[in-house]
Amino acid sequence: MEHARSWTIQISVLSVIMGGLVALSLKTQDRILKDQLPDVRQGRLARAFVELREDATSLRRQVLDLQKRLREYQLQTGSDSEKSKLLAQDLMLANVLAGTVSVSGSGVAVTLRDSKLAERKPNDISEADWRDLSEEYYIHDRDIRDVVNELRASGAEAISVNDQRVTGLTPIRCVGPVVMVNDVRTAGSPVVVRAIGDPDALLSGMMMTKGVLDAFRDVDPTMVSIDKVKSMTLPAYAGSTTLRYAKVANEVKANEAQRQSENAERLGDKAVQDPQSVIRDGGKK
């Protein structure tokens, strides 16, 4: 009996250890699977990506063609009668504002470049620290958005970033070393922002003290260059123009929204006169 208990205990203890080992092994294996991307699929993904990109390019060309044809039709109907001529003019204006037609005119071209100083890492700074310190030598998406915003504030009528037309719904963001504009990948440096508008007004907006580009001039003046352009042509927006969610509001709702926006304006006036009221009253009337 004594003998029997001895082996039971020992085997049971080892069983506990083995159970633990199995569990540990499972967890580790899980982690390995989670950490690693399945290598096998990368080749297939790359091929699919290339194909899709080619498809996207040809589809974009199709969109442009169709838009061109649509405008031709619009112009044709415009020549029919006085009334439809006015309509066609309105439509053209809306197209220009929406960015769905190519436009020409005078304006400025702002070129943003990553600084060459970013490559000159001092020897006494570690790789990781330099990554943080050299941040200011690179152009970021927020800088591009700032420039676009400032150009709009200075009265730009049409803007493009790296020859992608900026519309009311255009996202501008960095993904690694490239800038995505309208979900098209473009070069991350140099980034060329073109704006059509009054060249002097646009230029002064860009040169403003404490303005969006001031920080760059302090860091490295070669990062920014601004040129007045007598005549340039911005491309049309070539992305999707279908709406799935937004509908034109009916009159009652439109009036309600208009009242809201007027109310917001009043709140703004109030905030100017009495800045503390914003904190005190919150959003209440």
Partner: protein, 116 residues
């Protein structure tokens, strides 16, 4: 005897749950050594049960067998890693074969005990 045979099973379940639901994980680097250790433990348990059923169980042999086997297998895995040959397969085949052998012997012993 009949009651005792369940203890190892309960032990395995307990150990599994204890580690599985804890926060503890190992670096993926040790994954191959871990699977070898699991095999060595399973082999030692099967061997131990068989020895016990045959009435030849000896304290020292059981524990040292487990430890030496694990260390040797881990060593083989490590050397194999260094020289680029999966020597660890030798340990896996050896231990696996022994587990099957011991299991069949355990089955035979239990069956003969049950019938006699």
């Amino acid at each position: 005897m009949k009651g005792q045979i369940w203890f190892p099973l309960i032990g395995v379940t307990f150990g599994f749950c204890a580690v599985y639901f804890s926060q503890y994980t190992l670096s993926p680097m040790f994954a191959p050594y871990l699977s070898i250790a699991v095999l060595a433990a399973l082999d030692a348990i099967c061997g131990g049960i068989r020895a016990a059923l045959e009435g030849k169980f000896t304290d020292g042999i059981f524990i040292t067998g487990f430890i030496i086997n694990t260390v040797l297998a881990a060593l083989l895995a490590w050397i194999g890693d260094k020289i680029g040959v999966d020597i660890v397969l030798a340990a896996v085949v050896m231990l696996g074969g022994r587990i099957f052998l011991n299991l069949s012997l355990i089955r035979r012993l239990l069956l003969t005990k049950a019938t006699s």
